[in-house]
């Protein structure tokens, strides 16, 4: 296939084409990393840049060591599974290693030199990431182990308000007669914790359904968002459909009835500019490993005033104010929500990932994703028997494409793609009710990131056509 034969094979590139961002120890101050442009003569195995492309993808690919490897008997890796987990640039890997090599120690305790250096870097990372998502203050960002924990943190903390001794927590009490509103397109991580909160509290779960054109059905909003509604939890961008939801409309409706808003931003923060303050949401969950950062770390943004009144979820060391044998009082946020030793080196590396994305520019990242998505939708829908799950390409459509192939099970499509070195996700992508809504059990999902090329989109389309031939559906 011609897309694999363009250019010469890439020599091992520089550590990061985009200068490694230095970690500053002053909170809130970020060094501006400079794009150095890379080596224009280098072409990765996936081919050169498209003229007019918003990103220098050739240079970017040089930053990701894993893209040099081959899979399945020497085939170049075509990684289209960044929606599940993204790959990491060398500067992110190095940031974690450098921190562990030179600065590691216990954070927020101890008076020795390493404890101080580690604490400074941990808090500097918080400041960097808080700025990246548009939080008003680093204190509005809680580090968790992943986005699932972030969402559970909100659900459990709200649930704990019912038995809290703190009068400030009274406003969060949820019980019988109250309603929690979700949507039918949620990832299980933003659905099951709310089901469980309803089960524990006696509140009722309600949801916004989906339209046949893959968007939220807002026609029942007047009934579904009502004075009994206490929480409106929804995804910013569907991890299957790519649909970007109308945040402002939902936030306005929730505010009118005094409900809290919880936004799952796992698929938006890595791929488009997100300003949590401008969005006006109360809580936002996102994950590190989907935004070129490490596993083992996620983020929870919470408006300062809310975090200050919210009871804790996980309790223990580091989150207390005073401890007696029979009771304890709790510290101020974000520490109140970070019991135990936090993911320190992961936080440092996640800050490097945020800096890397910031240097590329999130507008350019979004434009690149839109370009690839537009091509993928066009190419795949031109294949007879392929049905795209999700709206047409555009600014309110994220950089992933889920689809089904008539007569070929998604697992089988994925297997044929894998044999060609193309990594996609198959299954229900942790959104089982969404799949049921559209009458299917599973789908294939290709998801794009900054390092993906137009050639890789062509490889995907060729691969799907070859799966159709292999299974005789065409």
């Amino acid at each position: 296939m011609s897309w694999r034969q363009t250019g010469t094979s890439a020599s091992p590139g520089p550590a990061c084409t985009h200068e490694k961002p230095a970690v500053t120890v002053e909170m809130g101050v970020r060094t501006g990393a400079v794009v150095t442009g890379g080596s224009p003569a280098q072409h990765g195995p996936a081919g050169p840049n498209t003229p007019g492309s918003p990103l220098d993808v050739v240079a970017i690919r040089g930053d990701f060591p894993i893209l040099r490897r081959t899979v399945r008997d020497g085939k170049p890796l075509v990684y289209l599974d960044s929606g599940a987990t993204s790959q990491r640039p060398e500067c992110v890997i190095d940031a974690e290693q450098d921190f562990l090599t030179d600065h590691y120690g216990a954070v927020k305790r101890g008076a020795h030199a390493l404890a101080e250096e580690a604490s400074d870097r941990y808090e500097a990372a918080r400041a960097t990431i808080a700025t990246f998502i548009g939080a008003a203050s680093p204190d509005e960002l809680v580090f968790t182990k992943n986005a699932t924990e972030s969402l559970n943190l909100v659900a459990y903390s709200l649930g704990n308000a019912a038995s809290s001794q703190d009068p400030a927590a009274a406003r969060f009490r949820i019980g019988p007669g109250d309603e929690i509103l979700v949507t039918e397109m949620e990832h299980h991580a933003n659905l099951v914790p709310w089901q469980e909160l309803c089960r524990r509290s006696g509140a009722s779960l309600r949801w916004l359904g989906l339209t046949d054109d893959f968007r939220l059905d807002l026609s029942g909003m007047a009934d579904l968002v009502n004075p009994r509604t206490r929480v409106v939890a929804f995804t910013h961008q569907s991890n299957v459909l790519g649909t970007v939801n109308p945040v402002t409309e939902l936030v306005d409706a929730a505010r009118r009835v005094g409900a809290l808003t919880v936004l799952d931003a796992c698929q938006s923060v890595p791929h488009r500019p997100v300003d949590v303050t401008a969005l006006g949401v109360d809580f936002v969950a996102f994950s590190g490993h989907k935004m070129l950062g490490p596993t083992g770390i996620g983020g929870l943004y919470g408006r300062q005033e809310l975090l200050a009144a919210l009871p804790p979820f996980i309790t223990g060391g580091s989150m207390i104010e005073e401890v007696f044998m029979d009771h304890s009082t709790f510290g101020a946020p974000p520490a109140r929500f970070e019991a135990g030793t936090p993911p320190v080196s992961q936080a440092v590396a996640l800050a490097a990932a945020a800096d890397y994305l910031d240097t590329l520019g999130m507008d350019a990242v979004a434009a690149h994703g839109q370009e690839l998505t537009t091509l993928a939708i066009a190419g795949l829908s031109a294949l007879p028997g392929v049905r795209i799950l999700g709206p047409g390409a555009g600014p309110d459509r994220g950089s992933l494409v889920a689809f089904v192939v008539e007569g070929v099970h998604p697992h089988d499509v994925g297997q044929i793609l894998d044999d060609a070195g193309i990594a996609v996700r198959t299954g229900h992508h942790c959104a089982w009710p969404l799949h049921r809504r559209y009458g299917i059990a599973a789908s294939v999902r290709a998801s794009f990131a900054v390092y993906n090329t137009v050639g890789e989109v062509s490889a995907l389309i060729d691969g799907v056509a070859s799966a159709q031939r292999f299974f005789g559906s065409r």
Binding site: D73, H409, P410, H411, D412, Q415, W432, A441, A442, F470
Partner: protein
Amino acid sequence: MSITDLYQEIILDHARAPHHHGLRTPFDAEVHHVNPTCGDEVTLRVRLTDGLVADVSYDSMGCSISQASTSVMTDLVIGRSLPQAMATLASFDEMVTSRGTVPGDEEVLGDAVAFAGVARYPARVKCALLGWMAFRAAVAQVAPEAIEKVGGGSPQSDRA
């Protein structure tokens, strides 16, 4: 290892035209199994008569590996004694969970040795076992002693 080692012609044939497909009566036990990672499912019925597997009928939705595997299984167990059927199950389970170290005994497994290639793709092992584990669970409802005596079924795939 090539893709055609996984998707052998015999597997594709069974997937296109599965044997003994459809739910039939009479039956002694019915189970419904789901693969939680992909949503594939099977409803399977077992009829036992005089220690023999008189019938296995099923309705299923899934990938070619799970469809073909269930189809091949019905060929191998219908008409056999319960101990023979459970021994076949144990042998199949051992082969597909072996990561390629156990080639499978053609004497015991017949056409099912075609699934040896699945063992090299860990993500597909549950697909291959879906129907077999449903069969095992259905038998367990009617004749639990047969399961205890012969065993078969790795713990991780017990409830695929």
